[in-house]
């Protein structure tokens, strides 16, 4: 029998404590199970903040969600696969139900993958979902990255999150490559063989590294168990951990939003997480899962039974890595063979090393440091929660497109053999063309993109000043024809005039008062040069004065403009505004 809740004489001295406790019982925000949990964790406050969090709505913000959901799908289906997969290279004759391989010596890894495909109920579907989700995961990561880049969402305070995202995308590729290598079929074995060669191409230490990684000469019996540990343990843990930090920062810093009436750097306009966003996002998870499951049910991926077991002597035409490693394969195909040389008794495989080993860290470093470079050039230390329209940052957009073109040249080079067959071209011509494009493609792309951006800005300017073309032609009494332009509503106009345009930074003083060259100024000169590169060509948004002048020039407006209050009323449909 418990005595804790019995009245004790001393309780009289603490009468108001009891009143406070009663108060708490009465004013407790939640009852039932939620209250029970809150009593023990005190989580209500935090969860309530989370639930009221406002998120802006735009399809391009959902690219990251696609990536997140496909990663979760990979985790779920991956668990199923680990129930059956045996990461071992021990050989024995195959006796499963796939007839054209019966009696062939295969490794346990390959046999268990065949068993998953043919002898385990639902195994092939789960395997295909796992692989398709992996491909779509990395596609979505890259699309999300492009969205963040082109809208300038990486600017202060989100530079750290950009770096996290960069590392996540690299981890996604590594994770994919490790998974691609596991089934020990002819294709994945060829991939591991290529990796072995890449490691060996590292100058001086390459062969030692290769022995270290493979535990001896290729292929050995260790590489698949090792890659398996990386694939199911280390890399997923790093991915999930970093991803959690990534999404936590989004919550902390609040989501960026596209510019629009009522949207400022100090608020977020959108819908609260609960109940709207949680329904939308939760529903979208099932859409993504459904689409991937549908694709996996009807489209074959990596038919390992066709490739046959790995054996170092055969190779198949069309041996390529999965797409996200394609750019490195393409770099290898473009690198000319004469770059290999021997010096000091070592072979320097410069026909392989730059494309296979050096390219990855270089590419991801450039991506990772971009926000810091741009910040240094602009000298902009303000926080940015409003996104740029890509056309309003012509130099950045140009750089981004140039980068995509460079990447695509390498990416398409990896498929040069298939382009040759399908387009009836010579593989040599394709390779040489791509070699040239590697150098001239990005500058041309930069130039064209920048010009398109500037002309779109110019078009926006014209639209603000003269209104939208209505397609209605009026004939005046004097015989003159005129097209009627309808003026924009303030709401329409907002998007077109909200941007700020930066002037190039100019160095005024290069020497100090005594005529001595100033070392700080030298750094500034570099900055000025880059700033000139970024901002020398610009189109200023229309100022209110210019707009006023244009209206007077056009005479009385033909269509009636909504008043400011009317515009504000249309704003009211935006339901939630969260202040910073």
């Amino acid at each position: 029998m418990s005595t804790i809740n019995e009245e004790r004489p001393a309780d009289a001295l603490r009468a108001h404590d009891a009143a406070a406790r009663r108060d708490h019982e009465e004013t407790r925000p939640l009852g039932g199970i939620a209250g029970w949990v809150d009593d023990r964790t005190g989580g209500t406050k935090g969860v309530s903040t989370l639930m009221k969090k406002v998120f802006p709505d735009h399809w391009s913000f959902m690219l990251g969600e696609i990536a997140m959901y496909s990663m979760i799908i990979c985790l779920l289906t991956g668990v199923f696969l680990t129930f059956w997969f045996i990461p071992s290279m021990t050989q024995s004759p195959y006796d499963g139900s796939y007839v054209p391989l019966q009696g062939v010596m295969v490794s346990d890894a390959y046999r268990s993958t065949l068993d998953i495909s043919f002898d385990i109920r639902g195994g092939l579907l789960i395997r295909q979902i796992h692989h398709w989700a992996a491909l779509i995961f990395v596609v979505a990561v890259f699309c999300h990255m492009a969205r963040v880049f082109f809208t300038g969402a990486f600017r202060k305070p989100r530079e750290i999150n950009w770096v996290f995202g960069t590392i996540l995308s690299l981890l996604a590729c590594i994770e994919g490559f490790a998974g691609y290598s596991l089934p020990d079929d002819l294709l994945s074995g060829t991939g591991i063989r290529a990796m072995n060669g890449f490691v060996q191409s590292i100058p001086v230490i390459g062969s030692y590294m290769a022995y270290f990684i493979f535990g001896g000469a290729f292929p050995g019996e260790l590489i698949i168990p090792r890659l398996y540990s990386l694939h199911i343990l280390l890399v997923p843990a790093a991915l999930v951990g970093l991803f959690t930090a990534h999404i936590l920062l989004v919550f902390l810093q609040k989501h960026t939003q596209y510019p629009g009436p009522g949207r400022t750097n100090n608020n977020v306009v959108g819908y609260p997480f609960m109940p709207v966003y949680i329904a939308k996002a939760g529903g979208f998870f099932f859409i993504v899962f459904g689409v991937i499951a549908l694709i996996s049910a009807v489209v074959s991926i990596n038919p390992i039974w066709g490739y046959g077991p790995y054996d170092p002597s055969p190779i198949t035409a069309g041996s390529q890595p999965d797409w996200y490693m394609g750019f490195a394969d393409g770099a290898l195909r473009l690198l000319p063979g004469f770059l290999e040389f021997v010096a000091f008794g070592f072979t320097f495989s410069m026909n392989i090393f730059p494309g296979s080993i050096l390219l990855l860290p270089i590419m991801w470093t450039i991506i990772g440091i971009y926000p810091f470079v741009e910040k240094w050039v602009t000298g902009d230390d303000r926080e940015h929660h409003l996104l740029d329209r890509p056309r309003n940052a012509p130099a950045r957009t140009g750089i981004g497109v140039a980068g995509i073109v460079l990447y695509s040249v390498l990416f398409f080079a990896a498929g040069n053999d298939l382009m040759a067959i399908k387009l009836h071209l010579s593989i040599n011509d394709i390779t040489n063309t791509l070699r040239v494009l590697f150098f001239i493609g990005p500058p041309i792309a930069y130039w064209i993109t920048k010009r398109i951006c500037l002309s779109m800005q110019q078009y926006d300017r014209d639209k603000v000043l003269h209104g939208r073309e209505t397609g209605t032609i009026w004939r005046h009494a004097n015989g003159e024809f005129e097209e009627i332009h309808a003026p924009l509503t303030p709401r329409e106009r907002w998007h077109l005039v909200q941007q700020e345009v930066q002037e190039p930074f100019v160095v005024t003083e290069t020497t100090d008062a005594h005529g001595v060259a100033n070392p700080v100024a030298r750094k500034d000169q570099w900055r000025a040069k880059l700033s000139h590169f970024y901002f020398k060509d610009r189109v200023d948004p229309v100022t209110p004065a210019e707009l006023e002048a244009a209206h007077h020039a056009h005479g009385p407006a033909l269509a009636t403009e909504p008043t400011e209050t009317e515009a504000a009323e249309t704003e009211a449909s935006e339901p939630a505004i969260e202040r910073h």
């Binding site: 709505d57 399809w59 391009s60 959902m62 690219l63 696609i66 007839v99 054209p100 019966q102 009696g103 062939v104 398709w132 491909l135 779509i136 596609v139 699309c143 002819l186 294709l187 819908y271 709207v276 939308k280 979208f284 859409i287 993504v288 689409v291 991937i292 694709i295 996996s296 049910a297 009807v298 489209v299 074959s300 991926i301 038919p303 039974w305 066709g306 490739y307 046959g308 054996d311 055969p314 190779i315 198949t316 035409a317 069309g318 041996s319 390529q320 890595p321 797409w323 394609g326 990896a414 498929g415 053999d417 298939l418 040759a420 067959i421 009836h424 010579s426 593989i427 040599n428 011509d429």
Partner: protein, 268 residues
């Protein structure tokens, strides 16, 4: 033996030995040599007919004596198998000068005419003959013995053929616009002939490289994988990860972005 040893220095011994040697060689040859049952007027007629056809249709590139010109190679020693392969698949006569003769559906000659030209070319110099039906009959899966023969054919295929023709026989690119054609839906006889004659850029896989029985297993493997149901669904051409990546970048992300746009437009 003693009596034979005593006479081995007899003056007639050498002549006798030569005689025996010639008889054995000749006799063995008569058994081993390719024979034509009616090696007479009929065969001679076929060769003559073949020669006429050859002069009318092939000589402009291969030369009137099949000795070859700048436009086409010599046909000495290519054998009947090469003629049968090239003409029955529509590769010859070549429609236009190019890096490689493509296979065509529209065959310009009857099988008798092709056989006649083949006989004429084979009469010029010895070469591989059109293969026996024994080795071009497909082994059907079913018994364990047959299944293992097919699997063995798969191993031979992967080691010798997949590097150009791709793991599923979907074909692959070679240098300067040349290519290894797809192997689906090809007559077993033509696969066999291609191996023994090495058409275009293909190397010759003689009976020493791959035994006739192994060739039969290889052909049976190709037949078996072609006639299997596709468990995984649409194959995307069996071209490997490139077509899969293309699919992910077009249909995969395309459908998902479409859904995202639809969801983004949906009012809350």
């Amino acid at each position: 033996m003693k009596a034979l040893a005593a006479r081995r220095r007899h003056p007639a011994a050498i002549a006798l030995l030569i005689l025996v040697g010639l008889l054995v060689t000749g006799g063995a040859y008569s058994f081993a040599a390719p024979k034509d049952a009616n090696a007479s007027a009929a065969a001679a007629d076929t060769v003559a007919q073949g020669k006429t056809l050859f002069l009318a249709n092939c000589a402009s590139c291969h030369g009137t004596g099949a000795q070859g010109t700048n436009e086409g190679p010599s046909l000495y020693g290519v054998g009947a198998a090469a003629v049968d392969f090239q003409m029955s698949t529509g590769r010859m006569p070549m429609t236009s000068p190019n890096v490689q003769a493509p296979a065509q559906q529209d065959i310009k000659f009857t099988s008798d005419q092709i056989a006649a030209i083949a006989a004429f070319v084979a009469s010029l110099a010895p070469g591989p003959a059109v293969p026996d039906q024994q080795y071009t009959t497909v082994i059907e899966p079913g018994t364990q013995e047959n299944n293992e023969a097919i699997a063995r054919g798969g191993e031979i295929f992967r080691v010798n053929c997949a590097m150009c023709h791709n793991f599923a026989g979907a074909g692959g690119a070679l240098t300067r616009g040349k290519y290894a054609p797809p192997l689906q839906g090809i007559d077993p006889v033509h696969i066999y002939e291609a191996m023994v004659t090495g058409p275009q850029s293909m190397p010759v896989f003689s009976d020493t490289n791959i035994k006739p029985a192994s060739k039969q297993q290889l052909i049976s493997y190709l037949h078996a994988i072609e006639n299997r149901p596709e468990q995984g669904g649409m194959t995307l051409g069996n071209l490997g990860p490139v077509s899969e990546g293309l699919f992910a970048w077009t249909f995969g992300i395309g459908i998902l972005i479409g859904c995202a746009i639809w969801l983004g437009k949906k009012a809350a």
